[in-house]
Structure formats: C-alpha cells, structure tokens
C-alpha cells in the first residue's frame, strides 16, 4: 500500500475513534428539531409552573406517581445523587416531576413525597385535560392497569424515560431510566 494512503487512512481512523470518545458526546439519545410543548401546571405549593419560564436553565423532567414504590422513587433518588454530584451547578438545573395519576396525587401528596428527596424538586399536577395535553405533547404513555388480585386495585403503567431541555428551552435529550448517575451528570454538564 502507498505509505501516504496508509498514513491518511490511519489518521482518519484515529479521528473517528477520537470523535467517538469525545467528552461532548451525549450518553442519552440526542433529539434535534423537536419543539418543546409549553405547559402550565400546578406545583406542590399550589403555585403555577410554566415550562417556558425556565429558559436559561436546564430542565430535567420525569413522569411518575407517588403511589409507585419502585421505579418512581428510584428515579427521584437518582436525581438526588445527580443534584449532589453537580454541586453549585445544580442551581442551573430544574428537576420536574409530573404526575401520571392526578386522581391520587394531590398537591399535598406531591409535596410530602418530593420533600423526602429534595426541597428543590418541582412536583406538578393539574386538571386531567391540562395533563393530557402534556402527555400527548411528549408522547407519554399512561394507562391504568386493573389488578383484581391485589389490594391496590390498580396501578399505572407509564413512560419511564427522562426528558431533558437545554437552556434555550429546546427539548434536547431522552435518557433511559436505567442510565447511571454518572451518565446523567455527564449529559447535564455538556448542556451546562
């Protein structure tokens, strides 16, 4: 092989490897050109919360319900670790938890539930109509599963992915629920 061709191929390969390993590459799934659906819901203090008012901050969003004992609290617990790992930068990030079960998740329940993890987490509920617009806007699956042999009566199946918005208010990332704390921190730092 011509040494020049060999050398250029080698350099191209090296660049490709370097690009793959770039620290700026997101661990989550990057989304481009998907406008964020704006909404106004009620937070755990009974105050209105509007997504577009958060421009300038990175927003991390999850859909869950307080009755869920496993995945939803696991997500909040992970957020708490992410918050701790971000240190001072956490002031630039808003963690938002939207209920998929407004029938049970009152403002009081959201407040008590989120306070266990962080006073800075925002818990949102609202009318079924307003919440439905948000679910539809982000393709959130939500379904009541009746469980006849359980004292719970029913549970709620729902989308478990974490949504991330950049400082410009654009919907930038989808992060799998089982992503590590380190990977989430990494992605948020890239956006910060």
């Amino acid at each position: 092989m011509n040494p020049k061709i060999f050398l250029s191929s080698f350099l191209v390969l090296l660049s490709a490897i370097a690009a793959c390993q770039s620290d700026d590459a997101f661990k989550g799934t990057e989304l481009e050109g998907i406008p964020a659906t704006d909404f106004t819901l009620t937070d755990q203090n009974g105050q209105p919360f509007t997504l577009s008012d958060q421009v300038g901050k990175v927003v991390v969003m999850f859909f869950g319900y307080t009755y869920c004992p496993d995945v939803c609290p696991a997500t909040l617990s992970k957020w708490k670790q992410v918050q701790d790992a971000l240190g001072d930068q956490t002031n630039e990030v808003k963690f938002v938890y939207i209920t998929v079960h407004p029938e049970r998740d009152t403002v009081e329940k959201l407040k008590a539930h989120l306070a266990v993890y962080s006073q800075d987490f925002v818990g949102l509920t609202g009318s079924k109509e307003d919440l439905l617009k948000v679910y539809n806007g982000y393709g959130v699956y939500r379904e009541i599963d009746k469980i006849s042999d359980s004292a719970t009566g029913y549970l709620v199946s729902h989308t478990s992915r974490i949504f991330v918005f950049d400082r410009k208010g654009e919907w930038r990332l989808g992060i799998a629920n089982d992503a590590s704390v380190q990977d989430i921190v990494h992605d948020l730092k890239v956006l910060l």
Binding site: A112, D145, S150, S160, R161
Partner: protein
C-alpha cells in the same frame, strides 16, 4: 467383677446409642432448610399531613417497599409464603416490568420457592415487597420490622433499614 463387666458393656452400648442418636441429629440438621436474610432495605415514605388517620390499602395512596435477599444455606427446599409488618396494612409481592421505556408492575404469587443452597433476590426494578397502606412514615435511618413466613422455617424476622438508595 462380673457386675462391673456387665456395667461396662451396658455403658458401651449406651455410648454407641448416644453416638448413633447424635449422628442422626446432625443428619437431620443437615437436611433442614436454613434461611438467612441479608441486605434488607426500604425507601423513605412521607405520609402527607392528615393521611395518618385511618389509612386503608385502597385509599391511603402512599406505599412503601422492602428489598432483601433470602439465602437458604440448608439442604432442604423451603418456600416463602408471605410477609407482614406493623408499618403497613398489607404486604404483597410485586414485580416491575420494563418494556422499551414503559414501566408497569404486576402482582406475583406470594408463595416463592427458596431451593436448598439457593437464593431469591428482591431488588429495585424487579421483584419487590410492596407495603400497602402505610401506617406511618419511614424516615431515613429508621428500621422497619418485617416478618417473613416460610413453609418449613416458620416466621423469620428481619429489620429493613430505610435509606435513599
């Protein structure tokens, strides 16, 4: 002398009998189930103000969870038949099922085999004990007393430590 000889024979027979009995006992012990519980922990639960009145599994709206690992160090198979705790109205075994990015839960049979020299895990995002209708809040650092009922080993008590993760 003869009496003494007879006595020695009886003593010898007695010792043999005792040795045989001891040996049988050891065999019986080896053949038993031997349940050990490790790494029991729960997530914190904060009941909203006013929910501590008369909660019921259907309306209290606040649940807890217990994760743990059951080891059976014995030879005999055993099986878990249920669990209860004074911290809640009822405990059911549930399993989290992830399909793509959809999370759902289903109740699984309360009777779970624990084979001899085997283990059964209850862990996040998988099979877990669901505490229904909490009677009290669970604060980080608390311990929750849980009684596990086994077919052969009977009731086994475990204290589940409350922590974030």
């Amino acid at each position: 002398m003869k009496t003494i000889q007879m006595s020695s024979q009886w003593t010898f027979a007695g010792v043999l009998l005792m040795a045989t009995s001891l040996s049988s006992c050891q065999k019986a012990e080896q053949a038993a189930a031997d349940i050990r519980i490790t790494n029991a922990w729960s997530r914190p639960v904060q009941l909203p103000a006013g929910a501590g009145g008369q909660p019921s599994p259907m309306d209290s709206g606040t649940n807890g969870v217990v994760y743990l690992t059951i080891f059976n160090k014995g030879d005999l198979d055993d099986s878990l038949r249920g669990a209860r705790s004074g911290a809640c109205q009822k405990i059911e075994i549930h399993e989290t099922v992830m399909s793509d990015d959809r999370m759902s839960m289903k109740r699984v049979d309360d009777e779970i085999p624990v084979p001899g020299h085997g283990k059964v895990e209850f862990k996040p995002m998988a099979r877990h004990f669901m505490l229904l209708g909490m009677n009290r809040s669970l604060t980080i650092g608390d311990s929750v007393r849980v009684l596990l009922s086994f077919q052969k080993s009977g009731m086994v008590q475990v204290y589940s430590r409350v922590r974030l993760n």
